[in-house]
Symmetry: C3
Subunit: 251 residues, 3 copies
């Protein structure tokens, strides 16, 4: 498929990045506000683990699961800065995703019941070496919103980088500000009788925080549908080496 | 009072949370943007001390004092996650507040000259165990904006959790990014001749930063009307143990 | 020049501050949303180095270089809190800037081909001692947007604080969340053969990250046009004493 893409149905743009605090999120918001005035540009998450699209790939489908339709997700995490990779636009079960072809969008794509994957041929007149989020991807998002041509080339799913990655990722993919450790495992795949092992510790299931004794680590199905390791009234991330990328094993 | 609540006069929504950086603020913003399109949803504060509604309760009335009318404040700090507590909506001197009945809204309520307190009976069809901010409170806010029924039950002020808490709280309730220490004490209650004691240090009054010698701790009435301990061209939070929850005494 | 200033062409407001996380950005956003409803108020950057308008002054023109026209920049970094300084409004090459006359806007002003500098005589009825961003500068921005009188007094550029500062600043002016070190040097002023010295280390040029060996420091022209010191797949800020304000020398 390579016909024009309609602008139908994009009501807001959500940014999903590893940009951290600082000017990068704001610069993308300014550019988008000028290109598609009136469409809110919200910072959904900006503290993804830098340089780790593999970890973010497993958080992304969970993060968007309960967000409203009509949202376009502009997603940017790159393993390096200035490296070569294709620019993608996906329509997955009615949601739009724009980002680099480095695996970041692969899990969303593979789990979609209806998928349209497009490689973006269009390039802006000027492009910095190091900030494609502002200079390439934000204008691509605007052109999608406006139904403009992007030099689309349809891709088969298996051509996407990361299409062959495992179905779930038994690793910590994100640490939140409370010190909770979110894994890349869908909770529906695990029996509540399962015990997990992380950093030499055995971790049993609880329904939620208040069902676990204060100070004890437990795992539960978080509000995104993922297995999350937490400590009631405490932090689960205090042990050295326990953070994004760490392995979680079935005990 | 339990009649329908009109949507009159809500022009913007402000989020007051302990959610920190990460996806939780953004998810609430996405949900609200879809439910009440066109109403800005601003992140007023998201680094309140986790699990301490008691501290936030004394910051809240000060934080909203000089904000414009027509703002609805969605406030979420819980002592634990997934525990049981009622959902509240307050109309206090013409401002709306929505949040849990755990003390967080108690000081706003008690200081109001005109107060309407309502317990929310409505529940959404689906509700995660751990993210009521997104799944319960955000839809409640949307229904208030739209004038929809919420299964209201009027409450008397004294039935609110925290109604009997002290009038002012002589503790650090918030540390800002400059290292200033905000107390739960209204400055109008203190004479400028008063000396405070914090961590064994005597702290005198100054009108503002530039009136205090560089490097010396002083207290002053901050821009919210609270007693704040600061150091001119320095940080007031460098001593161990000096942070949110620490006692401040009259010296 | 002291005639009325038209409201023409302001489509969005960008905040450029050292306010950090916390309630200060949100309070300014709330005030502006009420005064100029419908105009987006975006947080462009809020982690500038506190109390260092001199460093921010050299980042600012680079930060706004590739942002869309029609943006008004509200800029606040003060060397102290509550000190006396004039309030400025600048129109520089078609962009509006509002902020204190402490050098923060001086480099933008001096590099402008067309400059209009105005001292703001207007003051609000009430003004806190410590939060002029919310109480003075935000209302000034709103009055500019609405074309209201501000008691303007035209200034000559050389009357601005900081007009005589050096053209470029060979210091670290900002450290981003990836640990990259941005200098106040425009890259167009440096030959790519130049070697820099920072903390006893020799630093050569690379086109971008992927052209430098992993783990090695290099300098490059960043997406703002400034000399930036970075480490491919690493952080450039791990050496003690290397941060905002540190000198960078030609090796």
């Amino acid at each position: 498929m390579s016909g024009p893409v309609t602008a139908a149905g994009i009501s807001r743009i959500a940014l999903v990045t590893d940009f951290g605090p600082g000017p990068y999120v704001g610069q993308v918001q300014l550019v988008l506000d000028a290109l598609v005035p009136g469409v809110p540009v919200l910072d959904l998450i900006s503290d993804l683990t830098p340089f780790r699209p593999d970890l973010a790939a497993y958080l992304l489908p969970a993060l968007v699961r309960d967000t409203p339709r009509g949202t376009l997700f502009l997603c940017i995490v790159d393993p390096g800065v200035g490296g070569e990779r294709a620019a993608l636009a996906l329509e997955a079960d009615g949601r739009w995703f724009v980002g680099p072809d480095n695996g970041l969008l692969a899990v969303v794509a593979r789990r979609a019941r209806r998928l349209r994957a497009l490689r973006v041929g269009w390039r802006p007149a000027w492009l910095s070496q190091s900030f494609h989020g502002r200079d390439l991807f934000a204008p691509v998002v605007a052109r999608i919103c406006q139904g403009q041509d992007l030099g689309w080339a349809a891709m088969d799913g298996p051509a996407l980088v990361g299409w062959d990655w495992p179905e779930d990722l038994p690793q910590i993919v994100y640490r939140d500000s409370y010190g909770n450790l979110i894994t890349g495992w869908r909770a529906e795949r695990l029996d509540t009788g399962a015990t997990l092992a992380l950093g030499g510790q055995e971790i049993g299931w609880a329904r939620t925080f208040c069902d676990a004794p204060p100070g004890t680590a437990f795992w539960y199905e978080n509000a995104f549908g993922l297995v999350e390791i937490a400590v009631n009234q405490g932090r689960a991330d205090l042990q050295p080496g326990i953070g994004p990328g760490a392995d979680v094993e079935l005990g």
